[in-house]
Symmetry: C2
Subunit: 227 residues, 2 copies
């Protein structure tokens, strides 16, 4: 446990709050992208999928602005203890958020191909529920981060198991589908890719959650000591 000095500097408190607000706003944009990507699949809505593919630009701006804010806070406020860790960790959390945005874009690209190729293969029916679980993990991880709630962060890791199960299930179903209908290999590959992108979103959420525990407890659960 590091020392945590009482920062009375009002400007510093304001900047820290701004950092949290920006992280939450960026995370909110991620959640919307995932929701819309899933919705596009369910409703066979190509226009919606294409709009997700454009939303990525704002995420890139978010990343730059948050990085600049972190550098400004470190340069001007010289935070120590947990505030220092929070600032540095923010800069790492942003990477995961930005890549979640990338995965939502990748997913949407596959959705467009899937829709345009004809009826969806049956195993695609499990993707929306898998996506909603992954999105819930992201919501909880980010909430745990800005409230510095290690207990909540630990629940995110346990949510990863059902997502992994869905992933294995959809992957096996995609393989069966391709074996039975080799004329639809591309469809099966797109299906497997969609599941992979959602699995990666869950992984990024898990990364964020593990950073929260590191931040709050001053220990690191990302890589257990016995590994």
């Amino acid at each position: 446990m590091t020392n945590m000095p009482l920062h009375t500097d009002l400007q510093f408190a304001k900047e820290l709050q701004e950092l949290k607000d920006r992280l939450l706003a960026m995370g909110g944009r991620c959640e919307t992208m995932i929701d819309e990507a899933i919705h596009a699949l369910e409703e066979r809505d190509v226009a919606l999928a294409r709009s997700v593919m454009k939303a990525d630009k704002q995420m890139n701006r978010d990343e730059l602005e948050i990085d600049e804010l972190v550098v400004r806070i470190l340069a001007l406020r010289n935070p120590v203890g947990r505030d220092l860790r929070f600032a540095v960790t923010s800069s790492k959390v942003v990477i995961d958020l930005e890549r979640i945005g990338d995965e939502a874009v990748n997913f949407s690209e596959r959705v467009v191909e899937l829709i345009e190729a004809g009826p969806l293969p049956a195993p695609a029916n499990d993707l929306p529920e898998m996506g909603r679980l992954a999105n819930q993990m992201l919501r909880d991880a980010l909430d745990a981060f800005v409230t510095e709630d290690a207990k909540k962060a630990l629940t995110v890791r346990s949510q990863d198991d059902p997502v992994d199960e869905y992933y294995g299930q959809i992957l096996r179903a995609a393989e069966r589908y391709m074996t039975e209908q080799p004329e639809h290999i591309r469809q099966g590959m797109n299906l497997a890719s969609c599941a992979k992108y959602l699995e990666r979103i869950a992984d990024h959420a898990t990364n964020i959650a593990e950073m929260v525990v590191f931040l709050v407890r001053g220990e690191d659960v990302r890589h257990p000591k016995n590994q």
Copy 2:
């Protein structure tokens, strides 16, 4: 361009050098993992592939230790200007290195499955050259980072095109292979996954290179303004 104060503090210079040495050592371990994973595929060496799967543990320790060193430097030395950016960016570069290690492990797992399933599908012949190109990108990106050489970093991005071409080529070949031999769907999927993992390694190297330009020029090429 940010101001770059002259740090005469010997201890600080020593810590910065330690940070660079550790990043290079971690990067060197990544390169070895990729080399060995490729070698395992070429030589059908399951034992070597399995040893790569274990090398990941050291990478995880590297990540923690480098993060701690960054926090210590920020807390005790209050660096500003480019030194501050270098420290913060190190903490981000480490994420890419750690994930490159993950991709080398993923690749090795697929290699074991490919070898154990029988003769390699023909498109696997392109994987070693693709892997060597990705590894060269990593080497150049990391070298550019520790020497803060923006010009070298910019060459890394242009190296990504041939890797992407290999990726598209292997993916299409894997699809043809599965269409013609639907009894070998799993082999085709493993082949496509191998190509995907190498493509991601190249992406991580590109991420590192883009951070170097940001660091050195104080501008950000990660996300061009017109995006």
